[in-house]
């Protein structure tokens, strides 16, 4: 295979991606670094010193971390069960996890609006059971965003872990049990550590997904619970504050990349140890 002609095939795609992705992103990032003389970080310093922005950043990170933890906690046992099921059941359970993922995020958030809303299912159940005298506001809270985000990303976690769980041999667990570990201990001592690589991949996807999500916080969080993505939209489109929107863009990109790189670093250490 002659190498030169192969490069030609890459060119159209590269041009499109570079021109329509890299150029636009550089175009928004570069001006945020421009000062009167040379480069300045002052806009970022202002951003990080601003209590309002910090509270939004913290909320976004908090939602991301809690969502990721819940997804790990639920994802590990479920993906293990899915991986070890008979092919038919496995196919079904996988399909049931993939289906929400391919469903519009507006539809998925809307589902939780109908469940958590003032006239929603949870409220009507609680009221008719006389637990509450009047409807409680579940919607438009941080918890609602977290529930919606777990709902959005748990399938992703399950799916990314099934492959790893597939490769855990059954006899490992049996061996542990035969050595006197009870089932719960066996699970946490054997399966949990062995599933770390899949967990890491899944966690990156869940965290970055939650961290940058727009639809769910917008629909379930309301105006009080602004996160970075909804803030960016407000700044850019409602307030036309493009500089601030650009600063936000850069912050989101950097945090996303930092999380990916640092988690992958941790992951590679696990691989070296042969886990």
């Amino acid at each position: 295979m002659k190498a030169k002609s192969i490069y030609l095939l890459l060119i159209p795609g590269l041009i499109v991606v570079v021109f329509f992705l890299f150029v636009p992103i550089l175009m928004i990032i570069v001006p945020t670094l421009k000062g009167d003389q040379g480069i300045t970080l002052s806009r970022y310093i202002i951003f990080f010193k601003d209590a309002y922005y910090m509270s939004i950043l913290m909320r976004t990170v908090r939602i991301g971390i809690i969502t990721t933890l819940i997804c790990i906690l639920l994802g590990v046992p479920v993906s293990y069960y899915v991986a070890k099921s008979s092919p038919k059941i496995k196919g079904l359970l996988l399909a049931a996890a993939i289906f929400p993922q391919l469903t519009d995020s507006v539809v998925r958030s809307f589902a939780w609006m109908t469940i958590l809303g003032r006239n929603g299912i949870v409220n009507s159940l609680l009221v008719s059971a006389h637990l509450f005298t009047e409807p409680h506001m579940f919607l438009y809270t941080e918890s609602a965003i977290i529930v919606g985000s777990v709902y959005l990303f748990l399938p992703l976690m399950i799916i990314s872990m099934v492959g790893v769980m597939d490769s855990i041999e059954d006899d490992l667990v049996e061996a542990a049990e035969s050595l006197g570990a009870n089932k719960v201990v066996a699970f946490f001592k054997i399966i949990f550590p062995l599933s770390v690589p899949g967990m890491i991949v899944g966690s990156v996807l869940v965290f970055t997904g939650t961290f940058t999500a727009y639809t769910t916080p917008q629909l379930l969080g309301g105006n009080k619970n602004t996160v970075l993505a909804t803030l960016l939209y407000q700044k850019a489109m409602t307030l036309s504050d493009w500089t601030q929107a650009s600063v936000l863009s850069m912050v989101m990109i950097l945090i996303t990349l930092a999380v990916m790189f640092s988690i992958n670093k941790v992951a590679s250490r696990f691989y070296v140890r042969g886990v």
Binding site: A3, S5, Y7, L9, L10, P12, G13, L14, V16, V17, V18, F20, L21, P24, I25, I28, P77, V78, Y81, K84, G91, L93, L94, A95, A96, I98, F99, P100, Q101, L102, T103, D104, V106, V107, T114, I115, G117, I121, Y151, L154, P155, G163, E174, E177, V184, A186, F187, T208, T212, Y214, T215, A229, L232, Y233, A236, M237, S249, M252, I253, T256
Partner: protein, 260 residues
């Protein structure tokens, strides 16, 4: 281990959590009343009728469909040659190129949208539809490169060499021999790219304008001000589309592709 009671219980609860909300939406779509209620009161198709009569939903559905199909086709045209080049022998810089093609997935959706808005609409003064289309091409390229790349990885390239040794030019060998043997990958890539373009919210959000919007965006603004089963009905329609697409992916690529 697998049949441990606690484990089974956790699995059941998680799947109720995953499937329940969509089932509830499905049920509310057939409400005959004016407001959302569950369990639904009465049974009717009136909300489906309302969706089909709504001009906003119908035009934005049309636009979403056009954008998804066109963006996917364009991404296929530039993505297939690139995926092909990436699947052949190792050469220097291959990893970098691969990462460049995957990078649209890494950039947060709203940042993509904002960058497209500033560049395409403000700077280049492109029309809304064209901007939307270009944005979506970028968004779906990673899916094309990945899915087609993985089906090319599974292809025994000696068939291509055999064709060339029998007198076919590289180009003919590609169209007569390689392409017919990765059709399932191409179909699956099409489906995945289509659905991801169709469902996109964060980037499209910035690329809508007078008369041009996508279905998810118009649904979002609808639910912010209305609370009736119309969206449920629309959701059922979209879910039916998802089922169809999943079925096609299962038949071509196999759903197990997702676990890799």
């Amino acid at each position: 281990m697998k049949n441990n009671k606690i484990l089974v219980l956790v699995v059941i609860l998680v799947y109720v959590f995953l499937c329940g909300p969509l089932l509830i939406i499905g049920a509310t779509a057939f409400n005959s009343g004016n407001i959302m209620s569950f369990p639904p009161k009465g049974f009717s198709f009136r909300w489906f009728a309302m969706v089909f009569q709504s001009e906003t939903f119908m035009t934005t559905l049309g636009i979403s469909f056009q954008v998804a199909v066109l963006a996917t086709l364009i991404a296929l045209i530039i993505g297939i040659p690139a995926a092909y080049a990436l699947s052949r022998k190792n050469y220097r810089g291959k990893n970098i190129v691969q990462n460049i093609f995957i990078s649209p997935i890494i950039v947060p959706g709203v940042v993509l949208g904002f960058a497209f808005f500033r560049f395409l609409i403000i700077k280049l003064q492109f029309g809304v539809f064209l901007s939307l289309l270009i944005g979506h091409v970028i968004i779906v390229i990673p899916y094309i490169i990945r899915v087609i790349g993985s089906s090319l990885d599974n292809l025994d390239f000696s068939i291509e060499e055999a064709a060339v040794s029998l007198g076919a030019t590289k180009l003919r060998a590609f169209f007569l021999i390689v392409l017919p043997n990765i059709t399932s990958g191409v179909i699956a890539a099409f489906m995945l790219a289509f659905i991801n373009s169709f469902n996109n919210v964060p980037a499209s959000l910035f690329l809508t304008g007078p008369g041009v919007s996508t279905l998810p965006i118009s649904m979002m603004s609808y639910v912010e001000y209305n609370y009736d089963p119309a969206i449920s009905a629309l959701s059922v329609i979209l879910m039916a589309m998802t089922v169809l697409i999943m079925f096609i992916i299962e038949k071509t690529l196999g759903l197990s592709h997702f676990t890799k």
